[in-house]
Symmetry: C2
Subunit: 485 residues, 2 copies
């Protein structure tokens, strides 16, 4: 068999195993009885180990070398497949099996320690486990000798090719632009949370998703403690949401997760079972969820659709009131419930701190103080206890450094794409009022989704919008929000 066929066979196998891993993890969060956890951990570990062996095997390197060494002309698709396969292979082979094992173990121990420490709001109890994760992340970064700086190596796992300096420049402009928007807001009384019966929310979630394009033959919509999306294949798209009787987070979260899964659903069919058949990066993925969350679900123009479907479910509310409720702006302590304007500042804080941890200026013991200082500087609020501050997120406990920036970069890209959609397709308010979003789906499919991993973050954004990563469209969106508030 030709080396390219061997390579494609192996990549297909790896894609199949990744699909099984997605299934096992989805099931664990949505379906599995509690007592199934120990066996599931073994099953996932076995899958991980086998996939790692297959992805780093010597023969895969031999096939790549053979393909790269011949003058035979490959198709454009095969060239991209080989290019990304080479990148992934080299990155994986940089890391020893020992280090990979230590990372996994420290991440597991870190999460346990974090759960207890957060419960007790006791950072000191968490510090040793965090220190271990920081040390290992530095060791991991050092494996990539061609990365200009340590944090670049970490970023590459989530957003290949976006350097630390680029993030710093974007975030600096972003923080400067956002600060006046909420500090100058009139001190209006915050609205009370609206109380929406869960049955009405459930009816509205199901009906609204149907209107934006969710069909039973390809999608599942379930409930889980933390909303997430998982695409097992292009024809097997699964999203979850959660219900509380205050507010309509269920609807916002469902549309957010829809954005993630729609991306996977619209990747070109010929990329299926290759190494290119998934979203290209964390920030582009987040841009897709944020586009549907910030620019559709929370848009005043879309509020009548939500009201209509809540009404059919038996809960009556006016579009103005609903829109005001889902767009309140107010600096607050917790990232995941932050409003659209202050949300990126939470991310900027985490980026600054993890950069300090990884590149050496910041000691773990000084982290809570640095956190609290940052919250004062960026958001103007005091942190009463670490549980509501430095202990709120699981990421660092799980060894995830370099991941946070994608949440804010995703907001930026979403605004860039939305601006481009309105430039090319015209203002979308009328479209949103009828949930007539076929044109938006199609534009995203054509300009973003179909490429899979063929284009990295910044080239993809350039291709879709004509310019690279840009803070201004998000700032314009934020100014409009602040003006309306």
């Amino acid at each position: 068999m030709a080396a390219i066929d061997e390579l494609r066979g192996r990549l297909a196998e790896l894609s199949d195993l990744a699909g099984l891993g997605s299934l096992a993890s989805w099931d664990q969060q949505v379906m599995m009885p509690r007592a199934g956890a120990p066996a599931r951990a073994h099953q996932l570990a076995a899958l991980e180990r086998l996939a790692h062996e297959l992805a780093t095997a010597d023969e895969l390197g031999d096939w790549l070398a053979q393909i790269e060494g011949t003058s035979e002309r490959l198709s454009d698709l095969d060239r991209d497949i080989v290019r990304i396969a080479r990148r992934d292979y080299d990155r994986r082979r940089c890391v020893s099996a020992e280090l990979a094992g230590e990372l996994a173990q420290a991440a597991s121990a870190g999460q346990s320690a974090w759960r207890e420490a957060r419960e007790a709001s006791d950072f000191a109890a968490f510090a040793p486990a965090l220190r271990r994760n920081v040390e290992l992340a530095r060791e991991y970064a050092a494996c990539f000798s061609d990365a200009p700086r340590a944090y670049d190596a970490l970023l590459d796992d989530y957003d290949f090719g976006v350097p630390t300096e680029r993030i710093q420049a974007l975030f600096s402009e972003l923080a400067d632009g956002l600060a006046p928007l909420f500090t100058e807001l009139p001190q209006t009384q915050l609205l009370g949370a609206i109380a929406v019966p869960i049955e009405a929310q459930k009816a509205a979630v199901s009906a609204t998703l149907k209107r934006v394009g969710v069909s039973d033959d390809r999608w599942r919509v379930d409930v889980s403690p933390h909303p997430f999306s998982d695409s097992l294949s292009r024809g097997d798209l699964r999203i979850t949401t959660r219900y509380s009787d205050e507010g309509v987070e269920s609807l916002i979260a469902a549309l957010h997760e829809f954005g993630h899964s729609l991306y996977e659903a619209q990747i070109a069919p010929e990329l299926e079972r290759t190494n290119l058949g998934h979203g290209t990066s964390m920030s582009v993925h987040e841009s897709q969820s944020k586009l549907w969350e910030n620019h559709v679900a929370r848009s005043p123009a879309f509020a009548p659709v939500l009201c209509e479907e809540l009404g059919r479910g038996g809960y009556s509310i006016g579009a103005g009131e609903l829109s005001a409720a889902v767009n309140q702006i107010c600096p607050s302590l917790i990232r995941v419930s932050a409003d659209q304007i202050t949300y990126p500042l939470h991310i900027i804080l985490r980026f600054e701190l993890e950069l300090g941890l990884i590149e050496g200026d910041l000691d773990v013991d000084d982290l809570p103080g640095a956190w609290n200082d940052g919250m004062r500087r960026l958001l103007g609020i005091e942190v009463p206890e670490d549980r509501l501050g430095v202990l709120q997120d699981i990421h660092w406990a799980a060894g995830l450094f370099g991941y946070f920036p994608s949440y804010a970069v995703g907001c930026l890209i979403a605004a860039q794409l939305w601006q481009q959609i309105e430039t090319e397709l015209g203002p979308q308010d009328a479209v949103l009022r009828n949930a007539d979003v076929g044109g938006i789906r199609e534009w995203l499919g054509e300009r973003v989704h179909r490429y899979g991993r063929r284009l990295d973050t910044e080239p993809l954004v350039e291709q879709a919008t004509g310019s690279g990563l840009d803070v201004q469209p998000f700032l314009a969106h934020a100014r409009a929000l602040a003006g309306a508030a």
Copy 2:
């Protein structure tokens, strides 16, 4: 690492992969959106291929040879692990990868051909695909040169160590004993099916399962087109049932599947993630489902429990009427809806015919005629069309030869075990009337379940009941049923 540890590591890995395969197959039948099917087929095939490679790898043979070659004393458990690992390894290595591929392909093609042929009641359209499956099953059987006859080799896949002659003797005695029981029945009017609202059935399924031992932390109960059970691990037990508004098949099927899963749930914890951590054979597995179906769910003594729970669900029926409805005896065309007395005769017919196909007396073209003759001889009824006769089951289309006997042998073992339970624990009528089945569960756990694969079918039955496979307890049960009818 010592060879025994290497071996146990590999067996644990194979067990983990088998758990993932169970999950993928459960999900496909219960949760997966329709359009996920093509990718799921690839995922299952990849898993199958990897597991096959790991299970037949040369190093596994080396470890076995090293262990067998040393004089070091193994624990009893390790001795059983090695003994069964050797057996499985040798059996898998007998079959070439080519033949395994051809078998899988013919089974897949056979099922497609069967679906169309059954729809059209057109046996001739199915015959070529069936012929191919028969030929390959013969070829497969011929791989096992130490099997005294071809059909023995096939039986060994489902019930290791039960030879063809043993099945023939049991089935001959069984057919002779059953014949007078239904031919001599008074020609009573059959009861009409009872109409039970599905909501009442759902409430009763849930409540009844809870009373016999199903708890949320280890079990899931779902709905699927064909009821089945799947144990992903000892702590992750999943059963399904189905609902129709005629009769209470939902309840009977749920208790049947409960029997299968309870077996897996009560295997000794130290067998988990070894090659011994599953039910030992098809017929012992079926004995567990049939025990809960025939001797609990359908027992007149248990009828008050079902009535009580249906009543709480809003449907009122007397125990006598319910018991009569689930125990009607009448020869009929379709195996899966046959009554307890005539059911084994459907199996005997299939056994006779597949033995003829595999060992050469019966040609595929003569199968429909032989089927119809057999139905006349064994059950005294005429088959109006092949759809209701030779085309009703999927097994042969899927290349499953040697599987059918376990359905009837399971009924025999269930009756033997039930008789032994009543001998040791006393009559169980009062126990069943209160669904107070903890003692039955415990007895089964102690005498049957905990052994996993450590004992094969007949040794296990001997260990539990003091005698080998025996037709008389089932005949006594059948006579009691016929007497009551």
